[in-house]
């Protein structure tokens, strides 16, 4: 794929988020929902951490996204989805961390993927030959809402990694050894149609994705190509995109393109890697290296 994918970057805070969210979406040409009857939104609930930590989707961010969708596509059904995991009790977290009340406000339905009916979907991926495909994803327009964070296993987590949470099993940790291949596979099965990154509060440091340092980075990123958006996010976090295994592999299998056009009023490209220490960066790289060795 050689076509340049557009990625928008805008400055935003949780107080003025709606205006800037609309801007970020419009800069990349808006949502091409066409004849789809429903929208599925994948949030990020990786652990029992309050939204102010930058670890999980902020309710104000979800509120702005749902408002945008209701104002522009009012007739569509909207589902907000996440799955249970070893450290995730999704049904409880949506209530504790304020996402449920936002869903109720905008008439969006909640779907715990671990409890949804599934069908087997053949994908012939790098790791999976077939994957459990929850019913809610059938014939939907899929929007992924990742956080901008470091990750001890993969250096960073953003659009592509967010779909790891589409795996319905609670014991997702068993795939950590082959994490890059698995991320590519889940993106073959659940390829997002649109990505909006909540980088208003990001997380840095080697204790990500749940216990790192929150940083007020005040960024919103949007794009239709998850590989392109992750490429830009990697640069913002101070990583060379080609050193992130799953980004490189996702481009190779045709999920998206690392060649992208940045549409932004912010120049030069914002960086948040200066907000954390070099020692932590080294530890993160070491952990990532060990993970790579283990997967061989």
């Amino acid at each position: 794929m050689t076509m340049k994918s557009k990625v928008s970057i805008v400055k935003a805070s949780y107080d003025n988020i709606y205006r800037n969210l609309s801007k970020a979406i419009d800069l990349v040409g808006g949502l091409d929902i066409a004849d789809k009857k429903k929208i599925v939104i994948k949030v990020n609930l990786c652990d029992a951490r309050p939204p102010s930590t930058g670890a999980i989707t902020h309710p104000k961010f979800l509120d702005a996204v749902l408002r945008y969708l209701r104002e522009n596509f009012n007739e569509l059904e909207i589902y907000v989805v996440e799955s249970d995991a070893r450290m995730v009790l999704a049904d409880l977290y949506i209530r504790w961390f304020g996402l449920l009340s936002v869903m109720e406000k905008w008439g969006a339905k909640w779907c715990n993927l671990s409890k949804d009916k599934v069908v087997k979907k053949k994908i012939n991926g790098l790791y999976f030959k077939e994957i459990d495909f929850p019913q809610v994803f059938e014939d939907c327009y899929f929007i992924t809402l990742p956080k901008l964070k470091t990750n001890i296993l993969t250096k960073m987590t953003c659009c592509l990694k967010n779909q790891f949470g589409c795996l319905t099993t609670v014991n997702k940790a068993r795939y950590h050894r082959w994490i890059h291949d698995v991320i590519v596979d889940v993106n073959k099965a659940f390829k997002p149609d649109f990505c909006i990154v909540d980088g208003i509060i990001s997380m840095v440091g080697c204790k990500g994705p749940a216990f790192g340092m929150p940083v007020k980075s005040e960024l919103l990123l949007a794009g239709k190509d998850p590989v392109a958006v992750d490429t830009v996010c990697a640069k913002i976090m101070g990583f060379r995109p080609s050193t992130i295994g799953y980004i490189r592999k996702a481009e190779k299998v045709g999920i998206g393109s690392m060649t992208c056009e940045i549409v932004s009023e912010i120049n030069p490209l914002p960086r948040i890697d200066s907000k954390w220490s070099k020692v932590e960066l080294l530890m993160l790289k070491l952990a990532s290296y060990l993970q790579k060795r283990a997967s061989k």
Binding site: D47, A48, R49, P50, T53, R86, M87, V88, L89, L92, R95, W96, F97, G98, L100, S101, V170, A210, F211
Partner: protein, 355 residues
């Protein structure tokens, strides 16, 4: 000695059963859990001959001398009372009960049936905590003036996926009992009055996820217990300030620092050195990674010794009752925004029962 274990959840599997298994003259004779399959799995893993779904059937076995109660907190009191009636010595996980009324029942029942009752406050067994206790008992800090305790843990999801822990008491009933017990144990005085602030920081959970409890003791000292599930850390630090010196006990890191009068760079240097050596030793010996779970064996040994020798258990039922009373007083204080007198609270229930 034959022992029965009631409740086969995480704490039983990770702490109680391995500890019991490692004591020579103890035989784990039976396990009981409402989830019979879980009990069977545990029995198979630890080679335990008898499995029950109903703990009352376990209590009918006359060869069992003592029971460990590792079931969810809300069932501790009922199981403990039934165990006492069956003449079994009781070791019960914290908290002893969910309220003073039930805790009083447990303590009285154990006395009536002449069985030993021991509540598990395993953090007392950290060597640094033992040393702190010795320093205070020896009078090296003079009179205790104030104590500041912090017990910040992550939501118990890192420990178990069970959701019964997310009831109204939340963090106060989960890790709170350990901090409250440590403060009372170190201070060697009775709490007279309790005032609490906090509750639901997130405003959406309906349980206590942060709380500060101010305690006034009979010896006129004051203590603050700061308990939370929100900060994503595992901080268990207690500062004790006396007329004759200061002590900082980092329970989890098994480290103690002490200075008298003005703090000097020499105190800091000494503290840094001992902290590094302690942590290094504990990491090398792997004790660090076991944390407080490493001390269950000692609790069991002391408990069994108390049965065999007819002496006081290492941690008494009354001490468990005291912690439950402070927790309940804190909840009343939160709800009614007023200080709550502890002796009135306990006396109230004692009088009712006696009457």
């Amino acid at each position: 000695m034959r022992v029965g274990v009631i409740g086969c959840g995480t704490i039983a599997r990770r702490a109680h059963l391995p500890a019991l298994k490692s004591i020579d003259h103890v035989e784990i004779w039976a396990v009981a859990d409402v989830n019979r399959k879980a009990a069977e799995r545990v029995a198979k893993k630890f080679n335990i001959p008898n499995v029950y779904a109903d703990y009352k059937d376990l209590l009918k076995d006359e060869t069992i001398e003592a029971v460990s109660i590792c079931a969810p907190s809300f069932s501790h009191a009922e199981i403990a009372v039934e165990s006492a009636k069956a003449g079994k010595h009781i070791l019960v996980e914290k908290p002893l009960a969910m309220n003073v009324k039930d805790a009083v029942k447990v303590v009285k029942s154990a006395k009536e049936h002449n069985v030993k009752l021991c509540c598990v406050f395993n953090y007392r067994y950290f060597p640094a905590a033992q040393k702190a206790k010795e320093i205070i008992t020896n009078g090296n800090l003079g009179d205790i003036v104030s104590i500041y305790g912090i017990a910040h843990t992550h939501f118990p999801i890192s420990w178990t996926r069970s959701t019964w822990l997310y009831h109204k008491g939340g963090a106060l009933d989960d890790f709170g009992p350990h901090l409250i017990d440590m403060i009372c144990w170190l201070n060697e005085s009775e709490v007279e009055e309790v005032f609490a602030l906090g509750g639901d920081f997130l405003g959406t959970t309906n349980f206590i996820n942060y709380i500060q409890i101010l305690m006034k003791f009979k010896n006129r000292s004051l203590a603050v217990a700061d308990i939370s599930w929100l900060t994503g850390s595992f901080l268990f630090v207690i500062d004790v300030h006396g007329t004759g010196g200061h002590l900082r006990l980092d329970v989890r890191y098994n480290h103690l620092e002490k200075f008298h009068g003005m703090r000097t760079p020499l105190d800091d240097f000494r503290s840094f050195r001992t902290r590094m050596t302690t942590i290094t030793k504990d990491v090398i010996s792997k004790k660090f990674f076991r944390g407080a779970l490493a001390f269950y064996k000692q609790i069991y040994e002391d408990f069994i010794l108390s049965i065999e020798k007819g002496i006081k258990p290492p941690i008494t039922g009354e001490e468990g009752l005291r912690v439950t009373a402070i927790s309940e007083a804190a909840k009343i204080s939160l709800a009614e925004n007023r200080p709550v007198n502890i002796s009135d609270l306990i006396k109230n229930y004692l009088d009712k029962r006696d009457g």
